[in-house]
């Protein structure tokens, strides 16, 4: 076993998250899929940090976590305000900017 197995695992997880973003309709579930993609990228960063033998990859993963936390807070607030006005959390219903 080599460290590239971790990279393969993270590629699969990223793919699962991307397919979830394309397939699911619930805005909150779409958000969770984005979180899964971020986690997969974090696993890649940690693995590369181990391969390269320095800690910069782990620090980058730490920053990714900080940004993800901020993103989740703002995104969930947006979803809540959309739900308050439109009574729906489906991404198909937010189409006012479409036309």
């Amino acid at each position: 076993m080599t460290p590239s197995y971790y990279l393969l695992l993270s590629a699969l997880l990223f793919t699962v998250g991307a397919v979830g973003v394309l397939v699911r309709r619930n805005a909150i579930v779409v958000f969770m899929c984005i979180e899964l993609m971020l986690n997969a990228v974090n696993l890649t960063l940690v693995t590369f940090s181990r391969i390269n033998g320095d800690l910069h990859g782990q620090i980058m993963a730490f920053f990714v976590m900080v940004v993800a936390a901020a993103e989740v807070v703002v995104g969930l607030a947006i979803i809540l305000s959309i739900f308050k006005t439109r009574r729906s959390a489906s991404v198909d219903d937010s189409n006012l900017l479409k036309y």
Binding site: P3, L7, V16, V19, V67, A77, L80
Partner: protein, 318 residues
């Protein structure tokens, strides 16, 4: 198995003591059997968590599957010599972020599951095919490029200078100081943004405040500036069905609720006369000396209990 490994380790240690130590080689991180086992247990679990999140109909089940996936990833960080990130992953992601997700799910509605209607025809199929293609490309390229790569490992970093946490802290406050300060700005902006977006604004159709009501009343926007008069309270009756009497002796129609049938007019004849001034007022000496003529013309005779105090329902509805 582990006993065999320990025995082999002890044998190697003895051999190292007997022979002179070899010259230090460039550090190569050897992946142990334990790590292999951990990977083959945790990796499929993480993948199953991701797939379960996609395929779960209920959004809460999706969140729980994602919690499983993130927990497995945190343990993989531990295995990968990143204990600080492992702890942060478990605390921040599964502890804080996923709880936030569950909170919002409970607020938005637990039954807000996906609609089965496809707005774009065949979008799910195309999405799945694109995902398979992407996975094939990335997996093939990673497998071709990085299969025989050997890791240098983080053993030297994690064992010196305060360990993993100390080294990361030193890097954060020296090399990455400016990005680290920028994250504080990011967090503040995110907190303010969440407060602004989550603030419950007053929408049309909500209740006006008391100040707005008073202003509207004084401006004459309501039918009357004062509250409605209360019902009449007399010696003969104090029920809410008794209308109050106006100064001219006529009953005030607004003093009785619309839901209550007003009291029979005849029972109020004496009170009406008293208010209109047709009768002499109450005698101030009534309690001092008994007078024979006072009871005759100070209103109707004292009511028999149950007869005049309250109107009989049948009488009223008739």
């Amino acid at each position: 198995m582990s006993a065999l490994l320990a025995a082999a380790e002890v044998a190697v240690r003895f051999a190292g003591q007997l022979q002179p130590p070899p010259p230090p080689a460039p550090p190569v991180d050897v992946i142990s059997t334990g790590e292999t086992v951990a990977f083959w247990v945790l990796g499929p679990l993480a993948l199953a968590g991701g797939l379960g999140m996609i395929f779960a109909r209920n959004a809460v089940h999706s969140a729980l599957w994602l919690v499983l996936s993130m927990l497995c990833l945190g343990l993989l960080y531990f295995v990968q010599q990143a204990p600080f990130l492992g702890v942060v992953q478990i605390i921040v992601y599964t502890g804080a972020i996923m709880m936030l997700f569950l909170f919002v799910l409970m607020l938005v509605g637990r039954d807000s599951s996906d609609s089965v209607v496809e707005v774009l025809r065949g979008q799910r199929l195309v999405g799945a095919l694109l995902g398979l293609g992407f996975a094939g490309l990335v997996v093939a390229s990673v497998a071709r490029a990085l299969t025989d790569v050997t890791a240098r490992g983080l053993a030297s970093q994690n064992s010196s200078g305060g360990g993993n946490v100390g080294q990361i802290g030193r890097e954060l406050y020296s090399t990455y100081l400016f990005p680290f300060e920028l994250t504080s700005a990011l967090l503040i902006v995110a907190a303010i943004g969440a407060m602004v977006l989550g603030y419950a604004q007053r929408r049309p159709g909500t209740k006006p405040t008391q100040r707005e009501l008073v202003r509207a009343r004084l401006r004459g926007e309501h039918a009357r500036p004062s509250p409605l008069p209360g019902p009449g309270v007399f010696a003969t009756a104090n029920s809410v069905a008794t209308p109050a009497l106006l100064p001219d002796g006529s009953p005030a129609p607004e003093s009785v609720s619309e839901l209550i049938q007003p009291r029979d007019r005849r029972t109020l004849a004496g009170d009406e006369a008293a208010v209109a001034g047709a009768l002499p007022g109450p005698d101030a000496h009534a309690l001092v000396a008994p007078r024979q003529d006072a009871g005759a013309d100070s209103g109707p005779p004292p009511p028999e209990p149950g007869r005049q105090g309250t109107p009989e329902p049948s009488e009223v509805t008739r």
